[in-house]
Amino acid sequence: MPKLDKRTADALIWALLLTAPFWLTQVGGYVELGSRVLIYALAAMALNFLLGYTGVLSFGHAAYFGLGAYGTALTIKLLYPSTPAGMLVGIVVGTAAAAIIGLLIVRLRGVYFAMCTIAFGQVFYFIAFRWFSLTHGDDGVSAWHRMPINLGFTTIDILQNNKSFYYFVLTVFAASAGAIAFLLRSPFGRTLLAIRENERRARFLGIPVDRHIWMSWVISCFFVSIAGTLYALLNDFVDPRALRWDQSGNFVIMAVLGGMRSFWGPLIGAAIFLVLQDYISSETENWMSFIGLFFVLVVLFFPRGVLGIIRRRTAS
């Protein structure tokens, strides 16, 4: 394998993402699949901010993803038919919920933290499921759709034209990825790495560990709720499955599959996972078994993920 310089790799990834609507159909994909990969990649990258760079395991990110989605859907449907307004509400709701729950669990560590994120993740599932008058329970929020974006001088029709929706998603994805990269390179991001590597030593250095973990958690959930709003816009629909625990597991497996210790890992993991899921669920009714088997195989044979393996190869 030829050695890839980091900058070349970045340029290659952006070039592939920018041209995706044109080559995806050539290789048997479709444009919506590209949008879905970007959305899940953003969610997995957001999770990886916490998992890979802070060393804290959350199995409940679907809750904030789903809150973003529900916030968007309900705002556009009931309050004000505008895509940016819907997204704003979704992001605020998701982040605010994460900030409150973060306060409750930030003192916990390891398995205990993971278990509490799982349990708290289900609260919102039950609320969405039970609050029938607002969310229509299991039937989900339907009978609404994303609105064209009015920029003043021109309108972008993200509703009818799926290519312009893809580029809309890509713009949001690029802004978020840039922000995540910026945060990771900042002193704050370096502090998170220090906590991941040795929490006790970080504490001895006078770093307020709990506060940093809380901030990392809220930032991570902020980006995951952005992904959630895009998810609602993609489907023009949202139901409680968006915030169920299996969704959280999907985010984690994407990050692990691609490589937790690398920036682009979750993107690659999301692409592999979604293409595989798309293929398997069109081939067989028992796709759940195959996805489950896939989880098991990844854990047993690819715990470092795709990029982890490549990096090891090139290093040796």
């Binding site: 998992l51 395991l57 199995f59 409750l104 669990i105 003192r107 916990l108 560590r109 390891g110 398995v111 205990y112 993971a114 278990m115 509490c116 799982i118 349990a119 708290f120 289900q122 609260v123 039950f126 609320i127 039970r130 609050w131 625990w245 299996d246 597991g249 984690v252 497996i253 692990v256 028992n286 759940m288 078994s289 996805i291 489950g292 088997l293 896939f294 989880f295 098991v296 990844v298 854990v299 047993l300 715990p303």
Partner: protein
């Protein structure tokens, strides 16, 4: 009104007994091996379905005895082949693996026994109400509470008076020392996993008699079991038992006044415990 409240308290007690059975198994595995077994609900479903298949051959009582042991056997095998490889690694991996297992088991039961809900017949003399005034006291429910009580008592007897149980408790405190003292830790963890899964299988047979059988039967029980462990305190089995009964009764009582909040209330209890006492009601200081 008193009757209604009594009815719901009793109902909550039964649900709580289920939670406790599930949560005790989860807790055993978590304490000794550090593995959160997401597939626990799946093993519960297997227990119910196996009993359904065995009833025509063994009758209800035979199935009630045989099915949990079979499930425990499957559990021992799964630990041997898959979970054993992940000890000592980041808990992330065992969580993902059992997560995948949960998917496979749910889909597998659907494949073998079908997606429709199956009827589960219990002996007719057990399903009769015991008294007219307290119509909800059917024989089966009382029997269930008694059986769960016996199982829990049995578990604590095993843990306190048998060599295996004492080793499990010692391993929970300090596995390395137990290993140095010449105990085969691999076998110990294997048997302990089987014991935890046995409890899930038993809960599965009992749940089948009450809730019927669907592939997702374990789903509704696993989250409350996590909460039971958190509320009761990680690392403490009596705590887990207390947590299970407590959230069961609390959701039962809440369903009298606000039926739609019966799930929300257990999450509020968890939040309250985490604020006031993050280690849980009976949890040890500094364990996690």
């Amino acid at each position: 009104m008193t009757q209604l409240i009594l009815f719901n308290v009793f109902n909550g007690l039964i649900i709580g007994a289920f939670y406790a059975l599930m949560a005790l198994g989860l807790s055993l595995i978590l304490n000794l091996s550090g593995v959160i077994n997401f597939a626990h609900g799946g093993f519960l479903a297997i227990g119910g379905y196996l009993a359904y298949t065995l009833i025509p051959y063994l009758g209800f009582w035979g199935a009630l005895i045989a099915s949990p042991f079979l499930v425990a056997g499957i559990g021992v095998l799964v630990e041997r082949v898959l979970i054993r490889r992940l000890y000592g690694r980041d808990p992330l991996y065992s969580l993902l693996l059992t997560f995948g297992l949960a998917f496979m088991i749910e889909d597998g039961t659907r494949f073998i026994w079908g997606a429709q809900s199956l009827p589960f017949s219990i002996p007719s003399w057990l399903s009769r109400p015991l008294s007219y005034q307290y119509f909800f006291l059917t024989g089966y429910r009382v029997f269930m509470v008694l059986l769960v009580g016996a199982a829990v008592a049995g578990l604590f007897l095993i843990l306190n008076y048998t060599r295996l149980g004492i080793r499990i408790r010692a391993g929970t405190l300090d596995l390395e020392t137990v290993s140095v003292l010449g105990v085969n830790v691999r076998v110990l963890r294997n048997l302990n996993f089987g014991l935890g899964i046995y409890l899930a299988g038993l809960a599965g047979v009992l749940a089948a008699g009450m809730l019927g059988l669907q592939p997702t039967v374990g789903d509704s029980l696993i989250m409350p079991s996590f909460i039971a462990i958190i509320v009761g305190g990680l690392g403490s089995l009596p705590g887990t038992l207390l947590g299970g009964l407590l959230i069961g009764v609390a959701s039962g009582v809440t369903s009298v006044f606000f039926p739609s909040a019966s799930e929300a209330v257990i999450y509020m209890m968890m939040a309250a415990v985490l604020i006031v006492r993050p280690r849980g009601l009976l949890g040890e200081e500094g364990r996690f």
